[in-house]
Amino acid sequence: MGKWLKQNLVLISGILLPVLLVGGFFILSKAPAMLADPPGYDFILVGYHYDYQHESNYYLDFEVRGGHLTARAVPRDEKQVNYNQQKARLFRYEAAGNTFEELVYELPEKLEDLDEPVELDLGDAGDLKLDKRIKSPDGYQFEFVGYRGRGGLLGEIFGMRRHYESSYILKKDGAYFDLPEPSSDHTTYQYDLHFMGWVLDDGSAP
């Protein structure tokens, strides 16, 4: 056995070294996520959308004021174009199931004739208590990572690049958790999601 190993040392190294290298990297990259507590807080995202087929003369503006989500429809003038905020959808990330749920709200009537900004009624979404700090109380941060393939030309040829469920993650120190797509409508929401705040008070906190 020893003699066989000695005679075939290069061949064995050729098979074992790549496996050890990849295995070691796999353990090192996955260990932080395995050791860290999973994200415990829900959060709210708004996904803006530009509808070039039905241009409107207003844009939607979501923000957190006084710990609650608010939204306005604002008439568009030349200084405030904001084409990409023509439509918006709200999503709540549910940490328990690692899923997104869409929060439905209604737009007021006759928005096309808008002269002054008007507040929108967000229903239950407006009642949520939000913490708009970047880091959640348990230390996670919502991040856009975009196209993370670092394969370059060879990676493109061989199709080897890191693939994620979406372009967004929750990150804490070295650990990251992939987030699912908020909507199956990839073209509309994949790259224009905005973080609003962490949900604090309705039982989602650990």
Partner: protein, 311 residues
């Protein structure tokens, strides 16, 4: 070294590899008649025309299948790809028993190696119910690797080892992608593995395939190393890595490794001094560097690769 000396060295290498004695070689030389130039030219022409004819027939069949593809049902689609590929594979095995068809064995194995994976992908596409395409690709690579490598172990044909290595490497890369391993790590691992396995193959009768795999191994490794070191304080170490491959090229006597390392050194020099070389003088400097490195590589080739007989 003159071309006559080179030819004699190659004869000596072939004799050593196949354990041929001097008497056997002399006997074979006496039995063979000197090549007739006219007959040789006709033979080459006939061969070229035959290959061209074969390519036309295959291309015609492929175009015909492509035209009819939409009319084919799932079963027919699988049959014209996977079925035909597998039949060709079996036919290639049968040709091994008959010397008259010995020349078609390798092309048959290669065409089968092209059609069978295509057929497996078509089959998965037609009959699977969703799922991750990468898992399908991994399945295809594993099936082809097992088939080709077991057949190689049984009949010891070099072409099968080549195809096994291809699907082995492709399967490894796909598995790494499924496991979310960064491409630079995958490239480093593939580079190390392919270079070391090529070294082992280089010592065997299957050495004709090693230049390709040395090239693939070195390109993967040098690319992966660059990606790991790029932008870090250890970036300069890449000169050492590329020089190390140059040294390896002289040790294993591979011109391909020498070539890959020279290209890597050139490319990295251009990258490293990109700010100071982005002018006309920089271009002149790079030109001289290219000439110098190629002269150095040629001298290494003469001293360490051509001069020493292979073990």
């Amino acid at each position: 070294m003159s071309s006559r000396e080179e030819a004699l060295q190659q004869v000596a290498e072939i004799a050593a590899r196949h354990q041929l004695s001097a008497d056997e070689i002399i006997k074979a030389l006496n039995e063979s008649s000197p090549p007739d130039q006219a007959e040789r030219s006709t033979g080459i022409l006939a061969k070229i025309l035959a290959y061209l004819g074969g390519i036309f027939v295959l291309a015609g069949i492929a175009i015909f299948i492509g035209m009819q593809w939409d009319q084919f049902g799932s079963a027919v689609r699988v049959f014209v790809t996977l079925g035909v590929g597998f039949i060709l594979f079996l036919f290639a095995l049968i040709t091994l028993k008959d010397d008259r068809f010995s020349r078609v064995t390798t092309p048959m194995f290669l065409i089968a190696a092209l059609l069978q994976p295509t057929g497996i992908v078509v089959m998965l596409n037609e009959y699977s119910r969703g799922g991750d395409p990468e898992h399908g690709l991994l399945f295809m690579c594993v099936v082809l690797f097992v088939q080709q490598f077991l057949t190689f172990l049984a009949i010891n044909r070099t072409v099968l080892l080549f195809i096994s290595l291809f699907f082995g490497a492709a399967g490894f890369g796909t598995l790494c992608e499924i496991l979310d391993i960064d491409f630079e790590i995958t490239a480093l691992a593939l580079g190390i593995g392919l270079t070391l396995i090529s070294y082992v193959i280089d010592k065997s009768d299957h050495r004709p395939i090693t230049p390709f795999w040395y090239l693939a191994g070195s390109v993967f490794f040098l690319y992966g190393a660059f990606d790991v070191l790029e932008g870090s304080v250890f970036e300069i170490v890449y000169f050492g890595v590329a020089a190390g491959f140059m040294y390896l090229g002289t040790v294993v006597r591979s011109r391909i490794l020498l070539f890959a390392s020279v290209i890597a050194l050139m490319g990295f020099t251009g990258y490293f001094f990109r700010d100071s070389l982005a002018n006309a003088f920089g271009l002149i400097f790079m030109g001289f560097l290219l000439i110098g490195l190629s002269a150095f590589a040629m001298s290494l080739n003469r001293k360490y690769i051509q001069a020493r007989p292979k073990p």
